[in-house]
């Protein structure tokens, strides 16, 4: 099966947050409705970060430069990495990779340990308190399995998102970068072609990765690879100790305490 991907174009995005709303609607994720429930972010951004009930967030970054005030919008959601760090650490196998590249978190299997959040270089999975599970974008695998686009893509009024075979999305993304560069946005670059083994959610970063808050050259967190090394080391350590003690046991078979006073000898031996 061909690999599929979303292509998000920050240069076309008007930050209307329609995708954010549609994601919640399709996936039945509630919004907090209470007054001041969301911390004020100092911008038009809805909440500071993704949360247990929010799988997709449009981020706002403002920059005051020679052209005047410029906004860099970013679509923050799971990138569906080809080498997903989250999947590697999940102790129950709740995260799997579908043939089209989607990295799916099955909430019916998740035990809410949050290891995936710790491993993901972008800290994407968020803990969903009410259900004791972690939550993240599933690339609407329920829709795509029926030949439909992800809900966010379908709803985008600005045409800033597309969904299709990954190679076509990469080609379209690169073409757009060329256009942007020709228009003078010389820092424009495409994110996700090679990052984390190749992502299934690509990003046209109009102002360059950093301005859009994208991690350059992301890697699974060091600590998770350290932990991965520790597991075999633990096994070896325990095996060595048990083996050593086994040898000690064999050499001590038939041991009799010589310096024991008479009468207590029996007890010392038992």
């Amino acid at each position: 099966m061909a690999e599929y991907a979303i292509l998000y174009d920050a240069s076309k995005c008007s930050a209307c947050k329609g995708c954010q709303v549609q994601c919640k609607q399709w996936n039945m994720m509630p919004s907090s409705l209470g007054k001041d429930d969301n911390e004020f972010t100092g911008s038009y951004q809805s909440m500071p970060d993704l949360n247990g009930d929010t799988r997709l967030l449009i981020e706002f970054r403002e920059e005051d430069n020679a052209r005047g005030i410029e906004w860099a919008f970013s679509r923050r959601a799971c990138f569906h990495c080809k080498e997903p760090a989250c999947m590697d650490v999940c102790p129950v196998g709740a995260i799997s990779q579908l043939p089209d590249g989607t990295v799916k978190l099955d909430s019916t299997k998740c035990v809410g340990c949050k290891y995936c959040t710790a491993a993901c270089p972008f800290e994407i999975p968020k803990y969903r308190d009410a259900f004791n599970v972690s939550n993240k974008c599933t690339l609407c695998d329920d829709r795509t399995a029926q030949g439909r686009e992800p809900a966010c893509v379908q709803t985008c009024p600005a045409g800033a998102m597309a969904y299709g075979p990954r190679d076509e999305m990469i080609a379209a993304g690169k073409a757009r970068i060329d256009e942007l560069k020709a228009e003078g946005f010389d820092k424009a670059e495409l994110y996700g072609e090679t990052e984390m083994g190749g992502m299934h959610s690509l990003f046209v970063a109009k102002y360059g990765y950093e301005t859009h808050g994208l991690v350059r050259d992301p890697k699974a967190k060091d600590i998770t690879s350290l932990m991965a090394i520790m597991k075999p080391l633990t096994g070896i350590g325990i095996a060595a100790v048990v083996g050593g003690l086994g040898v000690s046991f064999l050499t001590a078979i038939g041991y009799e305490r010589e310096d024991m006073p008479r009468g207590d000898k029996k007890e010392g031996k038992q």
Partner: protein
Amino acid sequence: MTRYIQRHSLMKRVIHGIVAVSCAVLIVSGFIVFVPVLGRAAGSDVVQVLRILHRVFAVSFIVAPLVGLIFAPKGFVHIMQNLFAKWDEDDKKFMMLFPKYLFAAKTTHMPKQHAVKSGQRLADLALIAASVLIAITGIVLWAGQYVTPEVFRISLLLHDVAFVLIAIIMCAHLYLGAGIFQPYRGLHRLMFGNGRVSEAEARYHWGHWAEEELASGKNVIEE
């Protein structure tokens, strides 16, 4: 008639028992989560039950020693004094001879020891340090949704480091303490029995201590 010395109080034995059972459950349940292949094979329902068990026994693992600390502060001070007792020549000699003793017990004569053997002092200290670390990081992991992913990550790593330490020390502790090692046969009764040690056993294991106890007679029982 045999003379016995009361080595461990009832409270100490009960606390040790609770901690031992908790530790065993924690090691097994933790191990299944620690090794993803095992957790995945067990399935998430089983892992979920294990995680709940892990928390229940984590509470007894942490609370039992704290109860001891509150109700028997003198006993705690005594344990600490023994652990940090200054090493004398016999202590050093014991430690030097111990590896040989493990593999050639029949031909190794060990020097007299005080209340806690020098080697055990080291092991106990490492065990206590690892236990404190695993308890603190465990609490942080439990409160995982309230800490940043960075704090969570570091706690997870330290929790695993402490786990490895404890698992390894436990192998040795079990081998010696439960008396699987022939020269230590019967020692399990000290913690899991009536807490008494016969004069001969006491002289063999903790010569200096036995002499002091027999001289003072305070904890000596004749039966």
